[in-house]
Every structure is written in C-alpha cells, then in structure tokens.
C-alpha cells in the first residue's frame, strides 16, 4: 500500500469503545471494564500526537486498538482512509509499528540482537538471508548502536541500548506510523533525553508520524504538536500543548499539571489536590466521569449529563460543562 504524502489525515478514530468482560463463575460475564468508552481523534501525517493520562485512562488501550493488537468492541479506525479491519494484517504491520515501554521485557530473552531486529525482515520477506546481517547492522547504526552488539542477548544490554534495539526493530519494515507506548518511562533521566533526541531525529529523517503515549506531561509537551488528555476512557481535552498546558481549561488537566512535582519555584497558586481516587473503570460515574473528584463541579448537571468534546477555540476541544457555558 503506497502512502500518498499529500493526504493529510493518516489515522482517524471514530467512536472507539473497548470493553473487557469480567468473567464470573461458570464463565458468565458479570460486568465490563470500560477501558475506552467513546473516543474520536485524528492524527495528521508527519505530526507527533500525544496521548496523556493516568492509570485507567485507556491511553494504552487506544494505542493497542489502533495497532490492532486488540479488536475494538465498537467504533472504527481508519488508516490512510481505509478501515484497518479490512486491511490485510501483514500490510498494516508494514506501515504501522509499536515501541513498547519496558525495553528489556519487550525483547525475547532467547534471541540475539541480530535475530530480534532481523525478525521483521524475515517475516515480511524484505531481505534475503544473506542480506539480513548487513541490513540489521545499518539499522543499528541508524539508532546509534554499534554492530558489535549483534550477537548480544537482551540481558547483556543497558536499558538505553535495549530501547534502541526496540526502535531499530520497529524501523526494520520502514513504517510510516509509529505508536510509542511510554517509550522512555522505564529509563533513567539522562538516557531518556538520548532516546527522545533519537526519536526527534528519526522523525525528521524518515518523515514519520508518531502517536506518543505517556503519563509524563513534560515529555509529551516537549515532543507533540497536539495532545489529548484522557480520563477514565474518554478524552477530556485536546489541543496544542503549548497553549493547553499553559492555561488548561478542563479541571482535570488543571489538576494534572498542578500535580507535577516541579523543580522550579512554584507559581503562587496552591497545588490543586484532587479528592479521592480514580474510580474503577467497571462502575464509571454517571454524567461527567470526573465529577466525583472535580473541584470545580457546578451542580447536578455534572452528575447527570455527560459533556461532549466541543471546540472552544481553533484546534482546541474541551469536554466540560463549565466551558460550555452559553
């Protein structure tokens, strides 16, 4: 499938829902974990789209549905205009790849670096057996690794090296779209910076589009042109991180930003501490999901009516009754 670079929208998600059944005795379904509960978004070619949230937000699940590692319960996902469920899997995998969170556990401990990075080349028959070694070497070089690592096993690599191997593996098929699921969360600070630099360089060099999933607001803001903040399976705010993180409109985004421990002297506002805990995704609150903890709750409308994600400014959407004041 050739990617037409003039086409703007690379990925489109419509009405995505993913529920995981909870099975009781005698295999009867007694409930659902509503991991993703109605998400729409679109990712433009060449951009880095950030997806932020805490546990239970559904951000990883969204990534996995787009990567077709999970099948959606409802909704449609389009890649380059075509529904991904209608595309042959091999074709999809050649255009879309994933970088995982913990590099050391996403590499098969029984395979060498050469095997690991060469695997996609073998599966998709991109290179012949003789070519694999040289192809893998040049991939390693591109991610900043020496070919002396070819015969090493994952446990013999550092976290940073292992993640670079994971990136090299993802690049082996020359994809256009990369889903990065917390790619630097398990790494040390100094190594994080190295890997982020690498991702930025690769994007420029290869014209990649990224979906960057993370809980780290600073990192997401640093890399992304657009960001979506998720809470309990829905997007609550979406827009340009420069604007959004500077002056957030949704109370959850405000609390999230205020919660980040800062090394700069804090602005004089007191930190916003949310009451309570993140509710369970099984018994989702009625109305706006955030109302149980929201410091800016208006009233019964928050408890009864679910706010719709609405555009409040060009390219900036919020799902909150406060912001939808007529």
């Amino acid at each position: 499938m050739r990617i037409d670079d003039t086409k703007q929208e690379l990925v489109k998600v419509k009405g995505l829902r993913k529920y995981f059944p909870i099975v009781g005795i005698l295999n009867r379904t007694i409930g659902f974990v509503r991991a993703v509960d109605g998400v729409d978004l679109s990712i433009q070619t060449g951009e880095t789209f950030g997806l932020v949230g805490e546990s239970g937000s559904g951000k990883s699940t969204i990534g996995r549905c787009i990567a077709r590692l999970l099948d959606p319960t409802e909704g449609q996902i389009f890649f380059h205009g075509k529904e991904i469920s209608s595309l042959p899997l091999g074709c999809l995998r050649r255009n879309m790849q994933v970088i995982f969170q913990d590099p050391l556990s996403s590499l098969n401990p029984r395979m060498t670096v050469l095997d690991i990075v060469g695997e996609p080349l073998q599966i998709h028959k991109i290179a012949s057996r003789q070519e694999i070694r040289s192809r893998v070497s040049s991939l390693l070089l591109r991610v900043g690794l020496d070919s002396s690592l070819l015969d090493r096993f994952p446990h013999e690599l550092s976290g940073g090296q292992a993640q670079r191997v994971g990136i090299a593996r993802a690049l082996a098929v020359s994809p256009r779209f990369l889903i990065a699921d917390e790619p630097v969360s398990a790494l040390d600070v100094s190594v994080q910076a190295q890997i982020l630099n690498l991702l930025v360089d690769l994007q420029k060099e290869l014209g990649l589009t990224y979906l960057f999933i993370s809980h780290d607001l600073g990192v997401v803001k640093y890399l992304s042109q657009r960001v979506a903040v998720t809470y309990l399976g829905k997007i609550v705010e979406l827009g340009d991180p420069e604007k959004l993180f500077w002056n957030p409109r949704h109370p959850y985004t405000q609390a999230l930003l205020s919660a980040v421990p800062s090394i700069e002297p804090r602005k004089d506002e007191a930190r916003i501490l949310l009451r309570g805990e993140i509710p369970s995704s099984v018994r989702v609150p009625t109305g706006c999901r955030f109302h149980t903890r929201c410091p800016s709750k208006i009233g019964s409308v928050c408890e009864e009516v679910e706010p719709v994600l609405t555009e409040v400014e060009c390219g900036w959407q919020v799902a909150c009754h406060l912001c939808l004041d007529p």
Binding site: L69, R94, Q97, F100, S106, N108, E119, A170, V173
Partner: protein, 286 residues
C-alpha cells in the same frame, strides 16, 4: 534457514557450552559412561547373564558382584540389565514428550474451550493409577518390554502436558510476545520461537525426573510379569527379586540400587546443566 544447518549450528554451540558448565559436564560423563557400558555389554560382561552357576555367592574374585538366587552372575546381569531399564525410560519419555508437550502448548496458548477439553482428558488419564493403566495397555498390546514402555509413556503424558501448559500461559502474556505480534509474527512462529523456548526449563527438568521414575516404573511392571520377561534382566526387576533376600544376600539389592541411583544422579545433573546451558541469561561470555 535449513533445519539441518540450524541444528548443526546449535549443536556445536551447545557442546562448547556444556564443556564449560561443570554440572552439565559431570552429568554428561556419567550418562555417556552408562551408555557405553550398555552398548559394549557383549564385550564387557564376564558371563552370559542367563547362565546359572552356584547360587547366592557373595562378591568374590570369580563373581565380582556375586550371584543371584538362580546362580546368575550379578555383574553381567547388571550390565545387560541397563539396556532394558534405559530403553524403557527413553522410549516412554519420548512418547510422553511427543504427545504431552504439544498438548500443553496448544492448551496453554489457545486457551478457552480447547484448553478445557484437553485438560479434562488429561485429568482422566492422570486420575487412573499408573499401574492400572499400564496393566490395561499391556493387556491390550500383550506383555513385553516395548509395550511396557508405551504403557508408561502414556501414563506420563498428562504430566508433560501440565508442566508445559503452566509456563506457556504465563509466557504468552509477556511483553515480548505482544511485541512479536506487533511486528507481524504468525501464531506458529510465536509458539515455537517465542513461547516454547522461554517455557522450556520446566520441561527439561521434568524430562530428567520422568526418566528417573520411568526406570522405577519399569521395575513395578516387570515385577508383575508384564514387562521384561524372565530371564531377561533389568535393574528394576533385579531389585524386586532381591527384596526377598535382603538380609541374607544384601549384595543383590545394593548393585542394581547403586546403578539406578547413579543413573538418576547423572540424569538430574545433565538436566540441570542443560537448562542452564540453554538459558542465555546464565551464559557467561565465552
């Protein structure tokens, strides 16, 4: 990549690695020693194992390990007996592995209904007393060493299925398996290249344990007259015969006993060593 080339490459690598691992090396030496002894039985054994001499002679210069209740030379019977015991052990465990491991793999990887059905079948076999099962099978197939081996093998299938299924179920949830799906690997590739190698340690250990207990199982079956047919010797049957003469002729139980212990030790060491040899994490840089 041709299978032969792959095996040759792995074989030479493994041999080098075994050489460096003391445990595996000791185990290998013991087992190789025993195998040699068995293969060269015709050359080494001092007498015909079935020929009868003076009965119940204690160990002396003429009969190194003494003679048994029918006057047969224990040393020769020991050497030839190894054949029967090891043959049953190897054949039965091979059958058990060849059937049990794939069942465990399929069950563990695909889960749900298939898993339920397969495991219930395994439960049924497991719940039958091994000896009863063996007797039934031998009754159908007829007595003899090979049939005894088949019977033991069948009774060990659930063991291998179970010991494979557990690790398979946990390994298939690991991130690197998900990563393999993400790069487009087929189920077959994932099962053989990602899941099985990482779930194999318990299988290797179980193999050595099964080999050891198969030797003893053979003894029980032969005792009932369903396995090795007298006068052919086997360590297990020698042990059983010796039981009656425990106090007046202790040498009759000591020799096959030691032979079994030695073999079991060698097998266990070999198994431990092999497991270490195949685990890249324990491999030191050579």
């Amino acid at each position: 990549m041709t299978v032969l080339g792959f095996l040759r490459d792995r074989a030479s690598q493994s041999i080098r690695l075994i050489g460096h691992n003391k445990v595996a090396l000791t185990g290998t030496i013991i087992i190789v020693g025993i195998l040699l002894m068995i293969l060269l039985a015709d050359v080494i054994a001092p007498y015909d194992p079935e020929k009868q001499f003076t009965r119940l002679v204690p160990p002396c210069s003429e009969y190194l390990l003494g003679t048994d209740r029918l006057g047969r030379d224990v040393t020769s019977r020991l050497i030839y007996g190894g054949r029967a015991s090891l043959m049953v052990a190897v054949v039965s465990v091979t059958i058990a592995m060849a059937v049990g491991v794939p069942i465990g793999l399929i069950s563990g990887y695909f889960g749900k209904t298939l898993d339920n059905v397969l495991m219930r079948i395994m439960d049924v076999i497991f719940s039958l007393p091994a000896l009863l099962l063996a007797i039934t099978i031998v009754a159908i197939l007829g007595p003899g060493l090979l049939n005894a081996a088949v019977a033991v093998g069948v009774s060990y299938v659930p063991r291998f299925a179970r010991i494979t299924r557990g690790p398979v179920m946990s390994v298939k949830e690991r991130p690197y398996v998900e990563a393999a799906r993400a790069i487009g690997a087929s189920s077959r590739r994932i099962v053989f290249k990602y899941v099985l190698p990482n779930a194999s340690s318990p299988i290797i250990i179980q193999t050595t344990l099964a080999l050891s207990s198969a030797i003893l199982a053979e003894a029980a079956i032969s005792y009932l007259g369903l396995g090795v047919q007298p006068p052919t010797p086997s360590w297990g049957s020698m042990l059983n015969e010796a039981k009656l003469y425990l106090f007046i002729a202790p040498w009759l139980s000591i020799s096959p006993g030691i032979a079994i212990v030695f073999t079991v030790l060698g097998l266990n060491l070999l198994g431990d060593g092999l497991r270490d040899v195949f685990d890249p994490r324990l491999r030191r840089r050579l």
